[in-house]
Symmetry: D2
Subunit: 338 residues, 4 copies
Amino acid sequence: MTTDLRIGVVGAGLMGADHITRITRRINGAVVSAVVEPDAGRAAAAAADAPGSQAFASIEDAIAADAVDAVLIATPGKFHEPVIVPSLEAKLPILCEKPLTPDSASALRILELEQKLDRPHIQVGFMRRFDDEYQALRDLIASGEPGELMMLRCVHRNPSVPDSYTQQMLINDSVVHEFDVVPWLAGSPVASVEVKFPRRNSLSPAHLREPILVLMQLENGVHVDVEMNVSVQFGYQVATEAVFEKGLARIGQPSGLQQWRDGRFSIADHTSFVTRFAPAYDAQIQRWVDAVNDGSLIDGPNAYDGYRVALACEAGVKALEGGGVVPVESTARPAFYA
Amino acid sequence: MTTDLRIGVVGAGLMGADHITRITRRINGAVVSAVVEPDAGRAAAAAADAPGSQAFASIEDAIAADAVDAVLIATPGKFHEPVIVPSLEAKLPILCEKPLTPDSASALRILELEQKLDRPHIQVGFMRRFDDEYQALRDLIASGEPGELMMLRCVHRNPSVPDSYTQQMLINDSVVHEFDVVPWLAGSPVASVEVKFPRRNSLSPAHLREPILVLMQLENGVHVDVEMNVSVQFGYQVATEAVFEKGLARIGQPSGLQQWRDGRFSIADHTSFVTRFAPAYDAQIQRWVDAVNDGSLIDGPNAYDGYRVALACEAGVKALEGGGVVPVESTARPAFYA
Amino acid sequence: MTTDLRIGVVGAGLMGADHITRITRRINGAVVSAVVEPDAGRAAAAAADAPGSQAFASIEDAIAADAVDAVLIATPGKFHEPVIVPSLEAKLPILCEKPLTPDSASALRILELEQKLDRPHIQVGFMRRFDDEYQALRDLIASGEPGELMMLRCVHRNPSVPDSYTQQMLINDSVVHEFDVVPWLAGSPVASVEVKFPRRNSLSPAHLREPILVLMQLENGVHVDVEMNVSVQFGYQVATEAVFEKGLARIGQPSGLQQWRDGRFSIADHTSFVTRFAPAYDAQIQRWVDAVNDGSLIDGPNAYDGYRVALACEAGVKALEGGGVVPVESTARPAFYA
Amino acid sequence: MTTDLRIGVVGAGLMGADHITRITRRINGAVVSAVVEPDAGRAAAAAADAPGSQAFASIEDAIAADAVDAVLIATPGKFHEPVIVPSLEAKLPILCEKPLTPDSASALRILELEQKLDRPHIQVGFMRRFDDEYQALRDLIASGEPGELMMLRCVHRNPSVPDSYTQQMLINDSVVHEFDVVPWLAGSPVASVEVKFPRRNSLSPAHLREPILVLMQLENGVHVDVEMNVSVQFGYQVATEAVFEKGLARIGQPSGLQQWRDGRFSIADHTSFVTRFAPAYDAQIQRWVDAVNDGSLIDGPNAYDGYRVALACEAGVKALEGGGVVPVESTARPAFYA
């Protein structure tokens, strides 16, 4: 009989608590063995949801107690590095919520440290790669069957955002997903970023100037635009249209119960990422658990992918604030991450 | 320069007035030269819409005055025969609103009279044959490309009906359209009719027992069902699904302006036959006018088709009232109507 | 820490092996502890997929060894009763693949035995109840929001069937799903069954006369038809249109990657129940495991539901072979199964 | 009886011949009375299609012979001005194929000449304004119901272009349509134009660098992008997505006969503007004829609209060739064209 993977979850806020429930109730082959959270109340509440788990004040304590086989990091990005470093030193597999770290310099430090190990140990939590539709689109692009890819036209629309959402978060918290998934789809890194400002949504929080349109050029010449729109009121929508030489493909359209009422045909669409990506969140962790249990290489986004995203975010913020076309540094993917 | 076809419109009620406007303002190559209507007020109002037309109290008068090249009959069905007979005797082309006549015996008398002429002179006003989607479906069936046709599953849904709409009209006024268009699609006459009663719609007028489901067997074995549903409130919908040996096809779905609002994707659907079949009504008359002007054979439903529909309606009413499977007499199509 | 539910899987054929993989790799909170299978080779192969499981020649042996907390039966229907009886006597929770038993008399014997326990112990494997779209449709019907339900128009289409598929299996193996899910959707038992024969598909195996159209009347007056079509070549499709007094709803349409190629817009549709219902199969077992682990009442189809399906199948086969409208016996749901 | 409007068609090439057939066979209330075409062979062929028409070598001759009540100009753009001038001097209503003239200076000369008349006499042949879907979208924008418009995202895709199609024609022959219809939809003129270059389509003619992405800012702040793509192989597609503060709307999706075949659901899409805009071409001319016959103001694009389009094209070509954001001169709409 196999033994379940013992995961230490670091951070027991909203996202951490959600991952604890997921692992405890839906993921096969893993248990939450440790909750690392300085807030004692949160730690206790989270541990109650994960029977058999222990609470620790730091990841170092959990490692010292030999309580974890793997680490899932769900704290805000600025706290990632101090958790990643001891975990890497203990040679533990890590699933780190996005972003890897909040800037490219710290991401680079992580890369250097990780490359002292025998192989990549970090997966970054860009769960779109585990969505069936994104996977089908990537397969289609890779097949070459509709000709070469020429453009990707992405929309990323949220019904609303809290007041704490800042202008920079349009890039660092939202477009960050496209900075990961677009190169994964198109097989080429981001070369430059530019931001355009359409008419402002009068329903946005007063401190936001949005929607914005983020234009990217990939190194292979593919043009990408991302309509980033966080006060659309009507629903949650993440869709991509791929323009090929001989055809088009689109993902992210509504599906499900169709109704005819009052002279209209309609289909319920999503109103939150929670329903849109629920299976992708589960699949992301299940496949990571399986890879760790099997000893096989992780197939999700690794630390190098996280570093490339940090570079693109830095260019994106510059474009957001200073205008113009901002280049993204070209880097060679180390063989370690091939 | 060609001379416009001079059409005498018989009956200036709702349908007649609509045809007068259509011919006068939208149909090329024809004018309304005569309005035949015993009600003097209606006749005057209709004539005012058709500059240059004359009012007549009877079709015989209009013919005697040499005022018409062709006749369009838009009176209720029970008044059709007395107009058709003198028009046929005058060898005039006739476009007769459905039904040809209200029963098969009178339809048969019309057929016999018409066959004394050199070729068919009557087209019956089943305008669905002129709808682009029905034509595309018929072409697909005829192509044999998706294999043999096995079933046709039709829906015919109206938002509501006036109090004057009777139980028999479910067959004689509504399903009558499917009795024409189904054999035209499937290339085989109706062999039997049966009626099933689902749960009654509590929003129907008190004297109606509907919706009904009309089941037909065609002579070639194809099964057809028609959901006849006249109090659906939500819209007007005429759709058909064709079940082939190797695939399916469907017509009658909504198209047009798509909207995402309030967590739903929706498309406006029709709420009346007026918008759904507007181009078909125009095409029906335009093609009849062209055929008459060119001297070519009419390609719309002819009197024999009208007679077959009358037979099917008689069986349909028997099935509606007495239950069971009611056979429709098999008849051979005369060479005259080939 | 909770202990995983120890499930004994009876039958290690195709379906049994699939369930063993599912429980071992995807279902949280349960393990396969025993494989009951007389064929020693199959038993060994299956046990290899479930680390820690033991092989038994009979369910009685597994129970005697105290090796199981619950039983999942995946043998052909005619072998169900001899497994259910000792399992019920041992007061074990049972998830029994459909059908409960192959006829209503044996189903009734199971009901009588089960009612000697404190509450229902059997869930029947009709997994459609766990499909998101069916659940959304059921919620809509229950809401009363679009008015009363008047008709359910179901299609059940398979690309092809093996030569071993018999004429009676159209009812007992295929329509059996609608016999369960339709009363669950509409809140009313099947009152009568009738079968119509459209034109035969020339691509069907020579011994089959299909497609067929199965008409049902429910006790509340709702009309249901099921197009049962097992040689459609083009794909696998299970769809339902619900006709309400004020609107329509439909489930089972394609979703996913949309493409424009060669003058056509297209979406990949399913070609097998394996992909169409994969999440429902998982959900069915996960929710059963959760209910058993929590000690709560199972919410899937119980033995009484299985008995009602057996009655409907018997009427369906009579209608298939003898024609006409065959009544389904009306029975009162025992309070035990409320 | 009304007299038909006598139209002189100038230019009997492909487009002119098509308009002659349209007026002669489909447009009610008008006839082709004159064909103006220096090529004698073409003139004769065209006149044969329009019974009763006369051939003339110049528009001046046709006017001198009192042969025309109105003029339809279907020559290439560089020949428009010499036909418009004498027609305006003769106070004849003009329907001029797009563009009004090939540059803004000549367009301005036309405006000045026209304003000496009592009211606008020129309609420009931007037929998209007569398309049902564009009209529905404009109504929706004008309603303000989904909030303010923030972006228009247009695609304009052709299967292929002839070798004679030049790089500048991407703007002057193709995007020219959006330069007219976008301000009409959004109620605001184009303020600036920019061009982006995605990966080149290897299937394009060797002298073309396309697809291109044309970005526009409107004076009211609305952002517009037009994907101009003329070698897409798969079909002809003109679609627009309007992004509002509270919702989305889209036009230009496929409609019609839906098929399920070979594991796919598909709908035939257009492969040419001929089918996509056939009803709009007819409607454009019918409404112009009606307005001229009734003496009412034309409601199609007038000469001022044509001038604004010429300004936008000039900016577009500069952006295509020189890069960067090119402003479009702001002008005040003269009351004459209100």
